[in-house]
Symmetry: D2
Subunit: 288 residues, 4 copies
């Protein structure tokens, strides 16, 4: 028996990059949070402290900023792929790169060319991988899209056991914060277009599904997204059930006809699931 | 010399209330976070543990829920005043009530009657006071309105000392998260209308002011809000300066013509100021 | 009626300073978060954008770092006073300075001279004021000291109204996160010694008081702190009641003899109070 | 091509459980955050909304509380295994259970039997899996152990490229927040003892290793933990490099002999790695 080094990676996390493109008086803003992670011939670095194979995380950060100037920033997936390809293509010791990006959206303040208000809704995300053999993957996503429906949600007919006290319901408030990630079949999609399609599909399926459980809603959302977007082969959803409990007002001589709720923090249900095409190519390292 | 009890208050903080009004298939959502704080004849409670004067915080929470059913919830200021008036009017031992409310906004998902997405922008706030002598006050506000302008902001001509290394600039990115609170002259305004007026005034002044300093922008925002809204007599603004530093790309043979920025976390400038009418009535306890 | 500038201040918030003193192989660490805020002749800055009176917040940050090297950092109160005195003493346009500091404690890892683990307990705080007329004040404090007692806490005999459903109890879990700030009579105390005295007094009073309410515990804690520390003339405490609810296990055929609790997040009781000497000097700007 | 359901699980997240054991006047506190996740025959639930296979998350929460009373809570790993075994053993439709627990530590306030202060240091964690075929796994861990060494850390000899500006250093501050998870070979270890051994090993290796890189320190920490604890076969570490930058005081005529640092927030290096025995059994689902 010996003790050995297993899988490892290192990089610069959360490089905050804002790029302003000035088209005369009309400006455009990209606000990103970029995290790079590299792996490769790092055995000596770990075992002896010989850093000859280690490109500093500081250099990775510099590369993010320099590339924003040299190449611009379009869709975050393309920028992530560009960076990942660069790191694996220019350093023999780097065999694999993972680049994750979060994008924060700014809305133009009405009528102005260069004033913006941060759109506080969901954050757009992506994770791109590239290795020295040319294999690559792109997973896009969004997080923090908080939605609620105030009717059209039931939950009954569930399994029971001696620890079950929950009453079935045929009308409840259903609220969740959508965390979705979807895998593209290739690496050359129109990522902006597919983002819009998937986002709309998720919202429409959430709103349009008469829900018998959050599981059923999850599947409907995933199915709708895949149906809408041919180049997406798999989607993973994590949906916390943000419970809204009807308050018992009877001690005060009041009824409560589905009107006054307590929004609970913890605990919360958490429903996680994958919806996939049955002919989806192998995911490889895409979800790592 | 003796040790004595000074000012005190107690209450229930962060009661999360969601109220759904069902107008046929079209539903309306109010999503609030309510904090109550009472004070009065609480000397014995502190000194001897005699709780005869203490209305439990649990009862305060119950009152919030019951009032939402009994009286509905319109503008948060009116609901806060209603609660504060109730507590001071029905318990001899309670001489003063403070009710603070945060409101989270939900946008209807397009075309639906009962599905909503949380608007992740600013949070609307209010603090109402009422005492047993009938004195009352209302402060409205918003927090978390994050704005940026990518030009039209300068900073130069400032004082210097031996610790000054900052270079003057005639063009910088200016970004802040607006935290504003405004005091009403009376307690019977149309609070929804004044909220919209103040919010618009703040955005327009931020976008429309050619800024020579964040102080100047702050004053312009406050002045515009007071000008727009006659029943507001005082506004307090806290504006963190969310620094965006131009990245030095010269080590990589690149220029950076106001294009690539690093968005810094800490430290940050913090500009706080009040803009007021010179005939504003005494604030009393309004800001407590 | 005219619109005018009211009270205002500006400064650099959250300058993160770590100072290492090397006494041979034995090192000492000070880990601080420093926020400065200045006010004075700032009318033109706000109204016309003339910044001649404005010492940049960047210079304030530089001063914090330079002073740490020039003067060292002993007790945070002394460092805060030193900085506040400097700003008001060297710039005619600065009439008043407020310096707030948080200190994070590191414990030496056993047997080592220069390795440390962050003590994740409470944060030590202070706020010092100094104006150009030589008036000064010091408020010390701590935040995030989370304590619990599993017996010796009752709550009954309270006021009731139609919204009261709470049952009286003669034995409950009492938990809180102590947020305390105490005002010194002068500005030249041994702040390290008084910090230790107050902290011990707070813990001993919390543990040693048979509690009939959190209000009573609050007063006992404040009184003990003042009794222990003659140069402290006033203490303000904010104690959230971190509710621990006994879980009803009867549906499962189980009793629950004060054993299994649900620790709730929100809402929570919040008890705030001041304990003071009756001959305390006027607080002036100390609490601002 | 068809769209199908992929891997899925559901459960109750963050059930906050505090258990008090009363040994006369001496009490003992266990403060846990328990998350359960079940999977199995959930196809119909997703596709048709038939919930016959779904044990409600509410029942899972109830089970956590009831088991705390029925079986007590010893080491969190044993409690997690007990719960996971229960869920898979009593419901035919549940084929697999994952139970994750966080434990918060409370220290007794000196000399008292039932008063405690929360130890704000690291959080102890575990994840246990159990399936209906009797396979099981236990991963223990800790998170939030923040450590620093003020000397004995170098970084030089690294790879460079056109984007490299970092200067080599032979003496720097090294700080990180240790996030460690270790896999046990079996499921019947003395988990309390191994926790103490691993924690000590991590601290000793961090303090005792003359560091040439954080990668080298990571490996040394992992190796030491495996050497100390025979029943641990694999350990995974994630170490953010909490950069402390020496402040340039030369503009103020001051030197800075490794004394005054700026503690940065973002970006930060992030070093992740696994140290394993070469004969470790297959991990199966342990890390999921």
């Amino acid at each position: 028996m010996a003790i050995v080094l297993g899988p490892n990676r290192y990089g610069k996390a959360e490089t905050r990059l804002v790029r302003v493109v000035r088209d005369g008086d009309v400006h455009h803003v990209k606000d990103l949070n970029v995290s790079t992670a590299l792996s490769g011939a790092m055995r000596e670095a770990h075992l002896t402290g010989d850093n000859a194979a280690v490109l500093p995380t500081d250099s990775q950060k510099n590369t993010v900023y320099a590339f924003a100037r040299e190449h611009g920033v379009g869709q975050i997936e393309d920028f992530a792929l560009l960076l990942a390809r660069h790191f694996t293509g220019t350093h023999d010791t780097i065999h694999h790169a993972r680049v994750a990006i979060e994008e924060y959206v700014w809305d133009r303040i009405g009528g102005t060319g260069h004033s913006f208000a941060r759109n506080g809704g969901e954050v757009r995300t992506c994770v791109a991988h590239h290795d020295r053999d040319g294999r690559a993957s792109v997973v896009s996503g969004l997080t923090g899209l908080v939605v609620m429906k105030t009717t059209g949600s039931e939950f009954h007919g569930f399994a029971t056991d001696p620890y079950t006290t929950l009453k079935p319901t045929t009308d409840r408030v259903l609220a969740t914060a959508v965390d979705a990630r979807w895998r593209h079949t290739g690496t050359s999609a129109d990522f902006g277009a597919s983002y819009a399609l998937v986002r709309d599909a998720l919202l429409e399926a959430f709103a349009g599904t008469h829900s018998l459980s959050l599981q059923q809603t999850l599947y409907a959302m995933g199915e709708r997204a895949l149906a809408a977007c041919p180049d997406v082969c798999e989607i993973r959803l994590a949906l916390p059930n943000r419970h809204h409990f009807l308050v018992d007002l009877s001690p005060f001589g009041l009824d409560n006809p589905d009107e006054v709720y307590y929004a609970a923090d913890r605990p919360y249900g958490l429903i996680e699931g994958t919806v996939t095409r049955d002919d989806a190519p192998d995911a490889g390292f895409a979800w790592e």
